[in-house]
């Protein structure tokens, strides 16, 4: 469902690559944690997946969509298929909690009645009932992050990308957020979570991809066994199989 093939990202001429020929394959319904210190390339990886950035080299295919063939006007359509939770929440400051979540549905042209029906259910999942009319600035960090999660999942995306969603939260709220992500994953959504919180990594017992200096240093399954990564699988392996979008279309 998510495939990166020897993806490189260099931000400026003469600078070290933020990502250096990394390859990654995430199956549908998987829960993958990407760990690494600041500057390891985690955020760049996620920004490439949301098409905020373009790779300098390599191939990215998500949910059957080959990014090389993606036209600018189709980028919004791609983003509607992916739920994203940002570390800094990225809530719309002039909209209430309800309106922030509803916005994701308004974009796709859903009717008011459907929105009135759907949004409360999602706010229930993230335990935010009763806060519908609050503005983001009236909420705590944990509540804001849960609004961001509600907004990301309200369209029931096949893939959810969460960029350090616990980065600004205290341990209790952080764990609340992680539990919501687990719940979403149980419903069948592929979750890609970046964090540098090792306690979360240890407690979750999921596949862990460790990044260092733009490389994938290790890729361990939830049982602790080592998965193939660009460190031990040569890039040529992937080129033997032609990359077609059909392979990932489900």
């Amino acid at each position: 469902m998510i495939l990166l093939d020897r993806v490189t990202k260099i931000y400026g001429k003469g600078t070290a690559p933020s990502l250096d020929r990394i390859s990654l394959h995430v199956e549908p319904k998987e829960f993958v944690i990407v760990v690494g210190q600041s500057g390891a390339g985690k955020t760049t990886l996620l920004r490439l997946l949301t098409r905020e950035e373009r790779p300098s080299a390599g191939k990215i295919i998500i949910g059957g969509v080959d990014y090389d063939k993606l036209r600018d006007r189709d980028i919004p359509l791609l983003r509607r298929k992916i739920g994203v939770v940002f570390q800094d929440f990225k809530l719309l400051p002039n909209k209430t909690v309800f309106e922030n979540v509803a916005f994701a549905l308004e974009i796709v042209g859903m009717s008011k009645r459907e929105i009135q029906h759907t949004v409360p259910k999602v706010l229930d999942i993230v335990n935010l009932r009763g806060k519908e009319k609050n503005m983001p600035m009236e909420l705590s960090g944990g509540e804001r992050q849960r609004v961001a999660i509600a907004r990301a999942i309200v369209r029931q995306p096949k893939i959810l990308i969460a960029d350090e969603p616990t980065g600004n939260l205290d341990p209790k709220h952080a764990w609340d957020v992680i539990k919501i992500l687990e719940k979403i994953n149980r419903y069948g959504t592929t979750v890609l979570l970046t964090t540098h919180n090792m306690e979360i990594v240890n407690r979750l017992k999921r596949r862990v991809v460790t990044m260092e200096h733009g490389h994938i240093a290790s890729d361990l399954s939830n049982s602790g066994s080592r998965l193939a990564s660009n460190t031990d699988r040569p890039p040529q392996d992937m080129t033997k199989q032609p990359l077609t979008t059909d392979r990932f279309r489900r």
């Binding site: 950035e53 373009r54 719309l92 974009i107 042209g109």
Partner: protein
Amino acid sequence: MRRKYITFLRIVHTGTVNFLRNATLAIAAMAVMVVTLTIVLFSIVANATFANTIQDITDKIDISVFLKDEVTPEQKDKLLAEIKSRPNVKSLEFLSKDDALKAYVEQNSDNPSVVAAASATNNSIPATIRIKPIDLNKIEDLRSFLAKAENKDLQTARSPSYSGTRKEAIDNISRATQTLQRIGVIAVALFSVISALIIFNTIQMAIFNRRDEIQIERLLGAGSWFIRGPFIVESIIYGILSAVLSMLLINSVFVASSSALQASSFGLLDIGYAQRFFSDRFWWLLLMQVGAGILIGAVSSTIATQRYLKFKTK
């Protein structure tokens, strides 16, 4: 189709709500728009008033043709008909010898000795044809017509009054009116352009303050028009309200100072006319102001949002 309709209504609703929620920004932007639109409106009214003053002056200028006493009524009528058929003649008036004398006496009523001299002797004032030209700058045709031999024979030795010192005055006024009218049109155009630029800049600043919102909406998968639409609606609301406010501002200035301004005029500006011009064309001017406000608001916000909607190409 239904989805497009829902989206359109949603854009209008969001724009309106955003306008109400961003009150501080809205007031700041509208204040600038009101001031600039008022300046444009003022320059339009001033230009029209100025043009009216010039018209008043030119209306008072006529060309007098003095007829010999021997001219028969038939010859006089023929000449009048011929002058009337010339292209640049707005109106003409014939003064018989008696009428001319009466007019002369009236003109010199403050000078008893001149009046006494004119009345005491036989009437030496010739019958006169007063011609008002349409355009002072195009009297060459009339001049050559009156200078023709058959027409010249009907006139006294005194040449038509556009010649000599009076001709110079007429030429000076006509040159001045042309220049002043041009200046008026240029001033209105200049103020309009400057105002449009100021308003554009104001809206651009307002949108710059909210660029993060645009980027967040972009990341969530909103299409360009879904993002841009509410900003355009918001700017259009700015434009409409600013136009109405600027009209009300000028109107209240006229109303408040109505009695003081009634009979006054500042130099070449007839304030009474300005007030009449404004009130007679109130709805037309309002429509024009609102139209300008909407156009500038819509164009500015479309351009201003564009830069934040671009996708990275590298």
